[in-house]
Symmetry: C2
Amino acid sequence: MEKTQALAALSALSQDTRLDAFRLLVKAGGEGMTAGAICEALGVRPNTLSANLSILLNAGLVSNRREGRSIRYFADMDRMNGLLGFLLEDCCGGNPEVCRPVLDTIARAC
Amino acid sequence: MEKTQALAALSALSQDTRLDAFRLLVKAGGEGMTAGAICEALGVRPNTLSANLSILLNAGLVSNRREGRSIRYFADMDRMNGLLGFLLEDCCGGNPEVCRPVLDTIARAC
DNA sequence: TCCATGTTTCCAGAGTTCATGAAACATTGG
DNA sequence: CCAATGTTTCATGAACTCTGGAAACATGGA
């Protein structure tokens, strides 16, 4: 991943509503959620959510698909993957024990 | 990790100079780097860097220690650990294959 | 065709963030 | 002590971000 993409992803995630929405979609997994369902879950107005989803979309962190009148959103785990790889690139200064716990945490989450 | 901390960390990382500085410190590992060395490596003015380091410090992503006239900074991998755990909490909607590549990427980085 | 529903776009104003120059502070050596 | 070095603090203006109301757009059903 390039720095520009990483910055876009990080700055997209560094806002309350967008972080909530993204994590909701991560939890939803392959099923995703419609914009309306996200609105309701988070208690955000449609126009505000729409603006925020489009920022996540632009950052490549989510994708979407029209489904009748609704639009369904999905977390893009590939992009997440790329972001984490970028952040931890060449980490630990050749001392793998330092960041072993990071691996364990993530293994536990999945 | 709580959402407030995660937001602070993400917003700290979502800025060019700070992302560079943090990644530099991740690469430096346990040795860390002095503020001056970071300045030189990134080509940033001391006051600008100082402001940005203090934001990383506040977010808990780096720590520091005075060393004579210099101040040495270190990436805090524990906080990074917490952040990744928070982002991937309950991920994949019960479908572990989806985020397996994320784990592989990180394992390769370390 | 017309209306209801779900979502996005546009606009404007309040608030936040950023880099910069100048000044202050802390530590070391003469 | 005093000067030099390394770093931080402060104040400022320009640029950016966020939210909310109003309006537009897309789809499906009567």
